[in-house]
């Protein structure tokens, strides 16, 4: 357990530095954007030149860039992300309101691509080089080449417009008054298309990684030993080969989280899912740069936390991780 704790501590220290760089980068982008927080406030609340002057002074915007950076960091430490013009509300509240929908979409899509991808990867990796393997490998590559927004539109045309099986957009039926399980089922029903559009594309990554890992394991001695013992092929594939190729896929889960978040931005805008992506688009349309950067900061924190969770899971699954660090 101390091994895991030590790993977590080291990762946390690294993450703080990484997030600090992200914050400074976002501050620089904020500086590069036309207009400042006072302009934004006056646009949404109204005010004359005198108010602008006094606000600039009160908010410290007439000071040097270093003081402003320090103020920005200080505000962030207090979880203050600034003021959104488009919503006339604190950015933190707006972003946190939209985060759960994105996490739900991302999480479900990740689960879909991970489980289906690794299952198909086992099918392909059971006989590397076979026709089935080549079909699956190339087929998944073709799927990986599909732009997510386009797959989303095609799914909408087929399943929502032509067949009318599934809802066309949104996260739940508006003003349905549903609660509890009925509401959860309604949300799940609305998420079928968005999750498929996102999940099917990233399935290729897990499939190919599983397959490559299995091709590697097939060459190892213990597989030869298992074959010599006369174990049934199915058992060798599942218990020996696939099992040992599975671990690297867990790392992939963390590495992919940033890309999944980026992918859900596009998907949300196609399906009008009120999540971070949709919010980002509204921020772009409203020229609300502070809101956009607030979304980026929250996404970065989310990605860091997901990776931390994956690292912990990995350390618990594989006793070798961090073991030599403990010895050193």
């Amino acid at each position: 357990m101390t091994r895991t704790l030590r790993l977590v501590r080291r990762r946390l220290v690294g993450s703080v530095f990484v997030l600090l760089i992200v914050v400074v980068g976002s501050f620089l982008m904020l500086q590069a954007a036309p207009g400042d927080a006072v302009d934004a406030y006056v646009v949404s609340m109204g005010g004359d030149a005198g108010l602008v002057e006094s606000l600039r002074h009160a908010w410290g915007l007439d000071q040097s860039i270093w003081t402003r950076l320090a103020n920005y960091l200080w505000a962030l430490l207090h979880l203050d992300l600034g003021w959104s013009v488009t919503f006339s509300r604190p950015i933190r509240d707006v972003v946190l309101e939209h985060l759960p929908n994105t996490l739900l979409l991302m999480g479900s899509a990740t689960a879909l691509s991970f489980f289906l991808g690794s299952a198909l990867g086992i099918v392909a990796g059971a006989r590397p080089g076979s026709l089935r393997d080549r079909l699956l490998s190339t087929g998944s590559l073709a799927l990986y080449a599909v732009p997510s927004f386009w797959l989303a539109l095609v799914l909408v045309i087929v399943f929502a417009v032509d067949l009318r099986w599934l809802p066309i957009a949104g996260i739940e039926t508006i003003a349905s008054g549903k609660t509890g399980l009925a509401r959860a089922a309604d949300i799940a029903w609305h998420l079928v298309l968005p999750v498929s559009a996102l999940g099917f594309i990233y399935l290729a990554l897990y499939l190919r990684m599983m397959r490559a890992g299995m091709a590697e394991v097939w060459r190892q001695d213990f597989v030869l030993a298992a074959r010599a013992r006369g174990l049934p092929r199915r058992r060798i594939v599942l218990a020996h080969v696939a099992r040992n190729a599975l671990l690297p896929l867990v790392t992939m889960l963390g590495l992919q989280s940033a890309q999944m978040l980026g992918g859900s931005v596009v998907i949300e805008s196609v399906f009008s899912v009120p999540g971070l992506g949709r919010l980002a688009q509204e921020a772009v349309a409203g020229r609300d740069t502070p809101l956009l950067l607030g979304i980026i900061l929250v996404s970065a924190v989310t990605v860091v936390l997901i990776n931390l969770a994956v690292d912990i899971a990995y350390a618990l699954l594989d006793p070798r991780v961090g073991a030599n660090e403990a010895a050193a």
Binding site: F17, F149, V154, V265, V303
Partner: protein, 274 residues
């Protein structure tokens, strides 16, 4: 060893797609001179009806086939330029980090981590929306997050190369460390970095398409992503308009992947035999 590259049917298909696409992109101004965004016929002409407009027209009466050809130019230019920029930046940063070591290495790697922590699409979206959409800005926005992969690979390579004898030799001769890093070490570290190029080109094409789909592409150029977005407004009556440019995107990106995979495989075979 010649001909190795085209040995698998996948590599042949990929290369054929890319050659066809390059021809499309180069021939676009010859076959369809003038602005592809101008009105060419009645709006929403269905495909295969009027042979002067083989693929019909869109909601505003623009020639879909002409747009498709000119869109190939945008996708290829963005893909290649963004890949070139990110490979160059990544190779330089990775070499500096690996060769300098110590604190500089640590700082550059944390910087790389930071860029990998922010979802690349969100970063590109923010960058374009702050600076304003144009082809150059879109290329920069994509390169901004795509350099991290090449940087990591370059660093790992440099770490293994810098202990070799010829580097020690260069030191003894009295070469400047920067000269050693960029003239002796970097060229030797390049091959595995270049192996990433097909993935980066493909991702760049997809990111550009998504940006254009969300209305953040260069407004003065035809883009396939923009065509899909344009067709989306008439999705129920003319789904064709958003399906066709999407297929063009899929075929292009798949071509890049397949050709890239063929190249990497043939390089591996060559290495294994020599």
């Amino acid at each position: 060893m010649k001909g190795r590259f085209l040995q698998t049917p996948e590599a042949v298909a990929g290369t054929a797609i890319l050659v066809l696409l390059a021809i499309m992109a180069l021939a676009a101004p010859l076959l369809f001179p003038g602005d592809p965004l101008r009105i060419a016929g009645p709006a929403l002409t269905p495909p295969f009806q009027d042979w002067t407009l083989p693929l019909g027209t869109d909601r505003l009466g623009r020639d879909v086939l002409a747009e498709l050809f000119h869109g190939a130019r945008t996708s290829l230019v963005v893909g290649l330029a963004a890949a070139a920029a990110s490979l160059a930046v990544g190779a330089v940063i990775g070499t500096l980090a690996g060769f300098a070591g110590g604190l500089a290495d640590e700082a550059l790697m944390r910087l790389t981590d930071a860029f990998q922590t922010v979802p690349s699409f969100l970063l590109a979206l923010a960058f374009v929306s702050i600076v304003g959409p144009s082809l150059g800005v879109v290329v920069m926005a994509i390169a901004l997050s795509a350099w991290t992969g090449p940087a990591r690979i370059a660093r790992a390579e440099v770490l293994s190369i810098r202990e070799r004898d010829f580097v020690a030799g260069a030191r003894v001769v009295g070469m400047h460390p920067l000269e050693i890093a960029f003239r002796e070490v970097l060229p030797n570290a390049l091959p595995p970095v270049l192996a990433l190029s097909s993935i980066i080109v493909a991702q760049a094409i997809l990111i550009e398409a998504a940006l254009s789909f969300l209305g953040l592409g260069d407004p003065n150029r035809v883009t396939w992503g923009g065509m899909v977005a344009e067709g989306r407004t008439v999705l129920r009556t003319a789904p064709f308009l958003s399906i066709v440019p999407g297929i063009a995107l899929v075929v292009t990106v798949l071509g890049v992947y397949l050709a890239g995979e063929g190249a990497v495989e043939s390089a591996a075979v060559r290495k294994g035999l020599s």
